[in-house]
Subunit: 159 residues, 2 copies
DNA sequence: ACGCATTGATGCACATGTTAACCATCTCTG
DNA sequence: CAGAGATGGTTAACATGTGCATCAATGCGT
């Protein structure tokens, strides 16, 4: 009785599930490499964002935006990276609530070593999917991310 | 010095990041609805898979496959759902390692109430993205998920 | 029957996701 | 210029993600 009577899109055609599965497939390719360097996926996102940032670093909130990490997660991650000697934190004198996070030279070296391996993975995915399809996929994903969907922000009324 | 010298694909063109962002956008539309019913996203995945399963239920490993949850996560989630009276667990007599998980009538009712709201969300996404693009996106995501990427399974050699 | 690798599932440890509460600083207004 | 509110970050608490160890039940070869 549990089946047959509940009309619902099959799991396989669920966009969120497809996105989840696709991401898992790609990340399974990256994670072992990062683990080999003692980094988690999120720690790498932080290092990577900082590597592309201006030399005086980024403040925590900007870093959170760029890495799609929430504040509390980022706080913990930064504490860990600081303990590892990979990032430094400088309080902004003009507004002492803010801090600027930068990479240490040690971290810059690390990023330099990882980057080419990372590019290899991207290259493999792009090649196996086909450059044209890869681009098309990126385009559609970005378009999807721009959608403004109902119920996302306000307290929506449910039935 | 931290920037400019490390050649790396910009964050925005990173496929894993695009997948993450796209998934976040879609899930932001679903989560409030599920929270309103006291369910997390993962709990809903479990209920949904069970609702589509045969009446005698699914064993834990199959459920893990279908929901893309790892064993340990699923163990904890099932314990929670059992505590809430939403699933039951029956040990298989012929092989006592296995258990069959099924929905309780209470859970079936719950799924029945949530399903139409869920379909609404899917419909909105499909409509706003365009049915043709939606299908194309699903197709490419499934294709991506099927890729066999290096480093995913064996101990890969890193430099 | 016996040893023994395999399988289904859980336990453990650590890192992150998520929400709410909290704290320090700053800004604005009266 | 004091006090309310806004802002940037962190802390806390709980659930999940992830990899590894564990454990019991099973199947298999001899």
């Amino acid at each position: 009785m549990t089946d047959s009577a509940i009309p619902m899109r099959p799991f396989a055609k669920s966009l969120p599930m497809a996105l989840l599965q696709a991401r898992e497939t790609t990340m399974r390719s990256f994670r072992p490499m990062l683990a080999h360097h003692g980094l988690t996926e999120q720690q790498w996102r932080v290092l990577r964002a900082l590597a592309a940032a201006p030399n005086d670093g980024l403040q925590v909130s900007r870093l959170a935006d760029q890495t799609f990490l929430l504040g509390p997660s980022l706080s913990r991650i930064l504490a860990g990276l600081e303990r590892k000697g990979l990032v430094t934190r400088l309080v902004v004198v003009s507004d002492q609530r803010r801090a600027r996070i930068s990479l240490t030279p040690k971290a810059v070296d690390l990023v330099r070593r990882i980057a080419p391996q990372s590019e290899e993975r991207y290259g493999e995915i792009e090649a196996k999917l086909g450059p044209d399809r890869y681009q098309a996929l990126l385009t559609m994903l970005n378009e999807l991310a721009q959608l403004e969907l109902l119920g996302a922000l306000p307290e929506q009324e449910v039935s």
